[in-house]
């Protein structure tokens, strides 16, 4: 990142985010921020609120307290959430492709039905976005005819078509067969190189190491530690972080590229 970072206002700023489901305290005061173009990866054991953080940012889940600033807009209290959501790309484990629409129509629908773009314009845009994720030959295929990796790439193209200022990825490769993970990560890395601001929940340590500016380790609704990936992998401050990373290594292999 450049030296004048301090002059920049963060693109995303989260302050003291809180959320409980019934008696279960899921987020207990989470704060962090992303500058334009920054990429951060959230890691942590399952059930520690990583996905909840992402879901609060586009308010798929309503936080109980705290503030979320996207550029100049406060998301938690805003009354035009559908406009905010258009500016936040969201890609998640389950793809969420619309079964009744072909790949290209999946990418077009947000443009035509939400943004009010003309059909021709949307089709050109969708074709370009599918090309960007390396999918041109399957644009007329239906989701059920695509592989998991292709589905997720269509989902990424659909999110990108909306021209978001921020992309959220919630375990985008967790539902994929091992041999299909690579194609999705490749697309995500290319996106990172293009300068997209990204917040990613993943267990893919290779990706985290090579792409992210900071790794945020979360557990039980808290941020335990955040650090640059090299620092995180060479020697995290806390024993707990070490233990967790060691376990990930066992499960997913070393954080190479």
């Amino acid at each position: 990142m450049t030296d004048n970072r301090d002059e920049h206002k963060p693109l995303l700023e989260i302050k003291d985010l809180r959320k409980s489901f019934g008696d279960n305290l899921v987020l207990d005061g989470i704060s962090f921020s992303l500058n334009p173009g920054e990429k951060k990866v959230i890691i942590g054991p399952s059930g520690t609120g990583k996905s909840t953080v992402l879901n609060c940012i586009n308010r798929l889940i309503m936080p109980d307290g705290g503030e979320i600033w996207l550029d100049d807009t406060e998301v938690v209290g805003c009354d035009n959430i559908n406009e905010i959501r258009q500016q936040i790309g969201y890609v998640f484990q389950g793809f969420g492709l619309f079964h009744h629409l072909t790949a290209i129509k999946n990418v077009m629908i947000g443009l035509t039905k939400v943004k009010g773009m003309s059909r021709e314009e949307a089709e050109a845009k969708a074709t370009a976005e599918l090309e960007r994720v390396g999918l041109t030959d399957v644009s007329d295929s239906y989701p059920a005819q695509l592989s998991g990796g292709q589905k997720q790439r269509v989902a990424i193209a659909r999110a990108l078509a909306m021209e978001p200022m921020l992309m959220l990825f919630d375990e985008p490769t967790s539902a994929l067969d091992p041999e299909l993970i690579g194609e999705v990560l490749t697309v995500m890395k290319a996106l990172a190189r293009e300068g997209m601001t990204m917040l990613v929940v993943t267990h893919e340590m290779g990706f985290a190491r090579s792409v992210s500016d900071e790794i945020i380790f979360m557990e039980k609704g808290h941020i335990v530690e955040k650090a640059h990936p090299e620092k995180m992998f060479s020697g995290p401050e806390l024993q707990r972080t070490k233990d967790f990373l060691f376990k990930l290594d066992e499960l997913y292999g070393k954080g190479g590229d």
């Binding site: 790309g89 793809f95 619309f98 295929s141 239906y142 005819q145 659909r158 999110a159």
Partner: protein, 223 residues
Amino acid sequence: MDRLELVQRSLPALLEGTVVTIQLTVLILLFGLALGLIMAFGQTYGNRPIRFLVNIYERVFRSIPELVLLLLVFYGLPNLGFRIGAFNAAVLALGLRATAYMSQIYRGAFQSVGSDQLTAARSLGMGRYRTFFYVILPQAIRVFIPPFANEYAIILKDTSLAYALGVTELLRQGQYIIAVHYDPLTIFLIIAAIYFLLTFGITRLLKLLEKRLKIPGLGAEMN
């Protein structure tokens, strides 16, 4: 009078009855489709008291025999000061029953669209209505057709129960002819054939529609 002549001479009256049967079927279907849709919305998207009321309605009307409903409406309502004709009583009684079943068919169709798709729609900035019209509805229609075809067949066949209230639908027209000519086998066979054609023909059409609307790659049969 031989069989063939009997068939020829009774056909006009039976067709007249068939028209009444079709009228009953269409009205009950529309009744059930309209009210069932409202019920399904209440049950799927409504708050707790609404869901509770709809559940009770559905349980009640799915648990009472059609004939009892017919008699209750036709002979019972006048006690409360509502006097309606036999035809209308049949539409009302069978329509109330159809509503209960239709609401379940709708509900199943709406809920067949997985939560991942709804999440995706919301994250794209679609509000409730856009999500319903552009994501849920197009897929729900496809899920709706097979059980709807089934319900159509049930409603059509159940209109014969209006016979009990004196509605001159297909079965009662037949009964009149039998009373004069006494050939129950021939007449009942013709009646059975007409019911069969009406059921088979329409369900066949709906099957074709279902095939036409099928989403490529989805479902067991791959073409």
